[in-house]
Symmetry: none
Subunit: 530 residues, 2 copies
């Protein structure tokens, strides 16, 4: 039978403790959905006792049905000198209403004596009582043995007694934590093996990356018998981060044959990692194992040559197996094939060595030089190509617009008003609108002006709006790239605009969004007619 490894993601708890990471309640919901789609077993989503935002989040998650994952709330053992029932943190944790809870307690004698300052026996009682309380209340209990490896180095017997206390309390899982991330692989291997043998409870592992060895240490623990791996999908976490699950999952599943996620989800790994980065508004490091943009990028001439003969010569797994792509760097030809792959669906006749293909390759380079990027905005790229190849009939023309911004606000007045003039088939239409900001006002004015001509636009709304400053050192005069995502309830599309003026950049992306919708509607009508 295939060995199963339970993947436990803590992006929303330990990950949120990484520098620069901050999730809104809505971000958290999206991330839960994303991780559940990937098929992880546990999603640790926050610490309801320490953080009101997390409390709000768990309140809103009640009743949500997840397909693969158990939602897990995180908290501490009871404090000293308080009964479990009366401990405020314990009560918050219970009220989160999750099927599983993770409780951390101290496994290092030094921490017991110097940080929480209780007796060694009292610490064992705190662990035992708290685990037992949550078991009595019907929860699956995961005990996180904080500082276990450092604790074992200081007093191994006591470190194991803390694990036994959790086992006595009825813990479903005991997780060995390398909290400071300072342990060596052999140490993790040996101590995990011992814990697996000594305790009658399944063992997990939780590693930090302060030594750059969190992935290897996690894998060593699994090799020694651990059956749960904690980490964060793209390595977010306190200090240097937590064990990067996007490296651990494929290593165990593709190379060892141990099931971590449903087999058919493995090819979603790269897309999931990138989506998570996107929601978190961070850039995924290009060299990130398996999922990074450069993970299968070949640059050395000899490497490229060998890879073209046998990809496995310089690739440890097939890029496809994790949904990533092979990239050959610094090659004009590869640039063209990529464009061709994108364009052929709507220009089936385009040939690789044609004048048009060359012209599009140059155009792409020019636009990228101007700050455009079409990786996340392929609708704008389609419009650009159609316009350049003369296959686009304009639906409207923006004659001019004016936005007026007045601050400070008085008596709930909105800050911005916009006036716009458009021309459709020679007919001019003016409209004006107010909004909570200049772009909002402009968006409303656009919709008003076009409404009489294209009522289908009423179904369109924008679902995402991102702004990236391209040359931050230019400060207020920097170019910005605006990406927007739109939907009409059936399809979703993304468009982009670049300008030193954020209102103009937003307007360019907005016009593309509207044009793309109108174009697709026309195409659909033509298809229905044929």
């Amino acid at each position: 039978m295939t060995r199963e490894i339970q993947v436990y993601d803590s992006t929303l708890r330990d990950g949120a403790q990484g520098e620069g990471i901050s999730f809104s309640v809505e971000d958290k919901r999206k991330i839960v959905k994303t991780l559940d789609d990937l098929g992880v077993a546990y999603i640790e989503a926050g610490n309801p006792g320490s953080n009101p935002k997390d409390m709000e989040f768990f309140g809103g998650m009640n009743g949500l049905k997840l397909e693969h994952a158990k939602l897990t709330a995180f908290g501490s053992t009871r404090r000293r000198g308080v009964s479990v029932e009366d401990d405020q943190g314990v009560r918050s944790l219970l009220s989160a209403g999750t099927p599983a809870v993770a409780i951390f307690g101290k496994s290092s004698d030094v921490h017991v004596k110097e940080i929480i300052k209780v007796s060694l026996e009292e610490n064992l009682a705190m662990i035992r009582d708290t685990v037992a309380f949550f078991k009595k209340n019907g929860r699956e209990v995961i005990f996180d043995a904080e500082h276990f490896f450092d604790g074992a180095a200081s007093d191994e017997e006591y470190a194991f007694r803390t694990l036994e206390a959790a086992a006595e309390g009825g813990a479903d899982w005991i997780v060995l934590c390398d909290t400071n991330g300072g342990s060596f692989p052999l140490q993790v291997f040996q101590l995990t093996g011992k814990a697996v043998q000594k305790l009658g409870v399944p063992i997990g592992v939780h590693c930090h990356d302060d030594s750059g060895m969190a992935v290897a240490n996690s894998i060593m623990a699994v090799e020694a018998g651990a059956s749960q791996v904690q980490g964060t999908l793209i390595g977010f976490g306190e200090r240097c981060g937590n064990a990067n699950l996007s490296a651990i999952i494929p290593a165990l599943q593709l190379k060892r044959g141990w099931r971590c996620v449903p087999g058919d989800r493995m090819t979603e790994l790269t897309a999931t990692a990138r989506l998570l980065a996107e929601i978190s508004n961070v850039t995924l490091p290009p060299g990130m194992p398996y999922v990074g943009r450069s993970a299968f990028a070949h640059k050395g001439g000899m490497h490229i040559d060998a890879v073209s003969k046998a990809p496995s010569s310089y690739e440890h797994v097939e890029p496809d197996s994790v949904g990533n792509d092979r990239r050959i760097l610094m090659s004009e030809v590869s640039g063209r094939s990529t464009i061709l792959n994108k364009v052929q669906p709507y220009f089936p006749g385009l040939k690789k060595d044609s004048k048009e293909a060359g012209m599009l390759a140059d155009l792409l380079k020019e636009m990228e030089h101007r700050g455009y990027q079409y990786e996340g905005a392929e609708s704008s790229f389609e419009l650009l190509v159609r316009k350049r190849l003369g296959r686009f009939k304009p639906f409207f023309r923006v004659e001019k617009f004016t936005v007026i911004e007045e601050l400070p606000l008085e008596n709930g007045r909105v800050s911005s008003s916009a006036l716009i003039a458009i021309v459709v088939d020679g007919e001019k239409k003016l409209s004006a609108a107010e909004g909570n900001g200049p772009v909002h006002a402009l968006d409303k004015a656009f919709r008003l002006a076009l409404d009489g001509f294209y009522p289908a636009l009423r179904r369109v709304h924008l679902t995402d709006y991102k702004v990236r400053v391209l040359d931050p050192q230019e400060a207020m005069a920097a170019r910005v790239r605006v990406l927007i995502e739109s939907t009409d309830g059936h399809m979703c599309w993304s468009t982009v605009g670049v300008s030193t003026d954020i209102i103009e950049a937003s307007c360019l992306a907005l016009v593309d969004s509207i044009e793309y919708k109108l174009l697709k509607d026309v195409e659909a009508r033509i298809k229905a007619f044929i």
Copy 2:
């Protein structure tokens, strides 16, 4: 006697094969100097046979005296069917004139058969001949056994025969390469142990990070008896990069007591890593072990509390030991002590259990709920605290501003104009300005209006501008957080503003920036007076 590990840096050869990495000859010289100062044993500086720039570089390095490192040139074994003396690559390698050469040869039967397509015996002869040739010419010879670990998995006996061929040729070092970066720690440990036992030649290791385990695999090899570690100081390299030496050196030296660099250079590790990043024009990942900006950054409240009692509670080594700094981050998860640490420099009297401290903790939570984040904007936090505690005398008041935006542009006209009215000591001042965008126009109008009152502001300019959309699903009506960085040539400071209106958010950050500068100037004057 202390065990010595020879550190072999390949930033200039394997590192240069990383995506986005490109060194000029001058960059290469600077990097050689930097690495030599750190005290590595070998600097692999290029492949003279494959790259004319590298040939030029080695020519210019002749006669240069290095303090610690041996300059090393890299190349391949001779080709098949050519004598060593007549092989062009071998001749280039010799003419580089370095004291040491690294020669790579195939250790995998699959590569011998499928990539270079020679007989297994011929490959052994190519290795033996080439090593012997360089020994005869007085070079120290390092044999890189390419694909050794994959080769051993395919045909272990043959993989070891390639090592023996190098030993027969007289190699000074035999380096086991995990060229594709796909090996597991236990595998590296076992095979390295075997090589150390079998061969009478010192063993090295060369790992790639495709599995995120290059650091751990290198350390496992050293634990198994290897005495040379190859890598790149900050992990540059093909695909996911090479083993990150800045993580390996302190792990072996500080934790195992095995000498990698001179003891007094260890505290230069962080500065060296950052200098190398600077020369290479890349940003060092904040979470990079030991040397990253976040490597000792504490954010979780409990962590911060414990670190203030005993730093070792959440730090695996002293940040000072590698020349890095501890940082305490401020956020809703960080708690009262952090706020206190931040605020005490300007409010020395503030106590942890005071009413004010509680009020500030609540205020921080409230502001974060509104979308503020002070981690990268501590100047705004100081202003907020001062205003709330009544320790701020306003320098000016913004009565109102109006921004007018008109598009499309005609005849090079700028898109935006701003009008602003401020009041200083009861005196009202109006000004107007144009800009390449609404925020640019506003910034200019502000400066004009304040110029007569505060000429010191002329020295201030903005160096960074970031925009983050906080609730992207709200699309054009979303809140945005604007972060700006300013400098007056002496100090740098960062401020933040949040609003649904990007112009307002920018304006808030801008006003904070100006107020902070004026405040610090007043403080400096008071100090000079006392």
